[in-house]
Symmetry: D2
Subunit: 291 residues, 4 copies
């Protein structure tokens, strides 16, 4: 069974992500600590953006019998080995445990339903804890899958965000905005304390503001794209996780461009969510390293 | 032999492009005139962006024995048939005659050499009349192919454009900017009187100004693109002919991104030049119809 | 509203497909008959594989007020105009009427559910008359959408095909095999009398027989593909409608290759079904012309 | 400067590829030996096809001041550390040294010229030691680049292979068949002792034998592909390094399909050659691991 065997949870497997200033010896220290505990490394990716003091990134997936029990000691030893000599951040992720995800949606259902079906089919290592929407339209569909649906109107933004926090805090590891057409405030993002992934359409060249597909049509673009990114306080400017495009032509109406865009949006979003849930994405400044 | 048998000139074949306000009956009139002259339609594309008075576009490729001799009468009849009842523009293009093309380049050779090799291999229905550059670097390579090379320094922009006009006027049907890093003035474009195609890098999102690949690297883009477009007075804002992208990752340095960009640039540019030389591109407002 | 405005039915729009030996004048005759009836051509594609007596293909989409009422007379005139002078086949398709489709499935649900969701979202101009399966697994899901589900076991192949005919004849315009793992007999296909579209995985190079993804894994393929085709008596050898691929690598287990294959299968199948329902596919010998 | 900064040779950088049966501790041993010598790991990829005794693959790129001088001792220590406890194969590659490559070609020039231009532009970390052909057609072009051209007729196959060995042995690290239309014998491949990379067209489904593009045209394929692979005694059955496809349609003649195929062939071949020269490809049974 491969660690990329996506969607299947991996018993007694965990990932270790290490991130910081590059220095000789990091890989050796990490590998030694893991080997000492009898962990077998099954995948290892490492990247350095400049060996002379640049940033260093490493993701290791290992198998360790009885990981849950061994984990505290392993963490303690790694802390001792790394923290003193190196100035690094690291995190362990138990790959046998699904991420708990909340999906936010508005009226468009294509991204929401795609995530639900993929999760149900075992293609995403996550559970869907709830769907939150500012429209009642999809309540029945969502509840038909046995997933809680919460309607939170957004006319009063402060009240809505308070309600969101009440629903989410402690309950989820990730929030996915599946074409949720509301801006999240910086204080909300800070209070939330878990990552938020968003999907938005992308064009060459970019079309900003309302009615992007109409503008793209008028400009005769030949490609329609989508970008999945982490949400930061700068709307649509967060670190990019994944992007893709599909071809378009003069034959496509603005409505057809939007439909093609929907197709590529849901593919890009599902890949970004998968990779995040597999702990394969490392944030660094305004970019991501995706192993 | 198919009309898409690209790069081979087609004896006794011509294309007719018709463009204007959509009205019932246009296709019938065009087809009847062609049929009366014994022309056999071998390809026909038609597009209407709104049947209720929108814009109408048609490209017909036909075979007509002895086209060169029959052409004046054919044109006269079509003029009579169309001009009176319909408010349309049209043009014939003799597909047995190669386009005469000037290529402008600066220091990057990837697009220039790609066009030269493709032309030499018979993949483009054109002759390369000359290469014009503001740098002497590629003189020897270009002349090695038997193509005239003209060095026109651009320190004095007015003098340079005057020299460009002297070289080009009457001699070429198309100018291709193959990574030519100089802006062409509006008066120059007007005096030139033939289309100009440019290639430039494109990103999702867009990075404006200098060092785009460095900016793209900092932002962690996952796609690198290129756009070929007709040059208008708005730099890089002309009607798009073709676009494409390649994938990128955190492993790619800014230099590697630029090399991948070069690969996609030359592919996109060669497709745009091919389609233009086959008379398959129709300009309409700020967009193109590519049949 | 464009004729490519896929999924939306087009009131008072129809397509005319003409197919036969190429001769001068066909386009003119067709266009004249349509113009005489006041039809406005909104899209026209034409292809000739050899102007000197090769095969000719034309698809015309036109708007004609009150098409349903005018249609018989239009057909009669076209018959008179074409049948006597030209040896051609043609067909009209009313683009305001959805195709009636039966979907056959076995245990895999990815293609079936993708078609159901797209149809529900208005992306496919069709109704789903029924789902037929040799396994009961998906009965509940399918019926949850209000679609009849029929379980037809296939241990007794003759009995199964008799039951299939009883269900389908007169009720459907198209059968889609959405990963239906049973071979249809030639007599059945003949008796059925409507087209059947199938989807199957495809590889470079091809892997025939059982466990194709395992074989592809062993051989280290870098691309995973899918092919949608019309079903003929030669299994998996029918005329190809659409194909596509996704990248793969050594990191992907055979199970992951199968999941990626599932993704591309459903995309390819949905495009093939869409184009068929829009009457954009013309069969010719062992190939298709897709306008 | 990144180790993926392709085409630029990397002073004092080397790669270490390790390959064998997976066992816990390999990564730690390798990393420790490198760290002890002051080597800084700048890239590390590791793959295990089954942690429970499957195959293990690792590629490490490291910077080590004065690598050429330190190398023998490093190798000796690694040998001691790995050979006794683990049953592994490994190899070092000095990334500051270009590979010496011979290109074999016949009459088609697209792959040959693409490699020459890319090498000249610094996109490939290799030198082209010679071009060998069974046709004189390209002698002048090749020699114009300052590259030796050897004409070796192949009527007498044994004599030709003897001449090939005389030219190649000791002089090259890699042979690239750039559309060389002759089969190499098993004894020749064995005597040669360096890898051979070939490019061939690929289709979905596969068309075997002569005139593949005509067959693909008759079958109406929608994709045209190419596969680069190592040459083994089974013609066209060697381990795949890279594959790609381009779209095709009914509009494309067999000649146009061949031209599109040529475009994808040269892209796929140049990527395979690049990755091989960067020592990123590991052979394993009938497949490759490409890091």
């Amino acid at each position: 069974m491969s660690p990329r065997d996506q969607g299947l949870l991996l018993p007694d497997h965990a990932s270790l992500v290490v991130h910081g200033r590059d220095q000789p010896g990091i890989v050796a220290v990490v590998a030694s600590v893991l080997a000492r505990h009898g962990a077998n490394i099954v995948a290892l990716d490492q990247h350095s953006d400049d060996p002379a003091g640049g940033a260093f990134f490493q993701r290791t997936v290992f198998h360790l019998a009885n990981y849950a029990a061994c984990h505290p000691l392993l963490e303690q030893e790694l802390d001792a080995a790394l923290a003193e000599d190196f100035d690094l951040e690291w995190r362990f992720t138990d790959l046998s445990v699904p991420k708990r995800v909340a999906i936010f949606a508005s009226k468009s259902d294509h991204c929401l339903l795609d995530l639900i079906w993929r999760q149900r089919r075992g293609e995403l290592p996550m559970t869907i804890s709830m769907v939150v929407s500012n429209h009642p339209d999809m309540a029945e569909d969502v509840r038909g899958f046995g997933i809680p649906f919460f309607l939170v109107p957004t006319q009063d933004k402060a009240a809505a965000e308070a309600e969101h926090l009440r629903l989410l805090q402690g309950n989820v590891d990730l929030v996915v905005l599946a074409r949720y057409m509301q801006i999240l405030s910086s204080p909300f993002l800070e209070a939330l304390g878990v990552p938020v992934i968003n999907i938005h359409h992308s064009f060459l060249p970019a079309f900003i503001g309302a009615a992007p597909y109409r503008k793209a049509k008028e400009r005769g673009v030949k490609l329609i794209g989508a970008t999945a990114h982490y949400v930061t306080e700068d709307l649509d400017e967060g670190p990019i996780i994944e992007q893709d495009v599909v071809r378009a032509s003069h034959r496509d109406s603005a409505a057809e461009l939007a439909r093609r865009g929907a197709d590529v949006e849901r593919q890009v979003l599902s890949r970004a969510v998968l990779w995040h849930c597999q702990d394969r994405v490392i944030l660094h400044d305004r970019q991501t390293i995706v192993f």
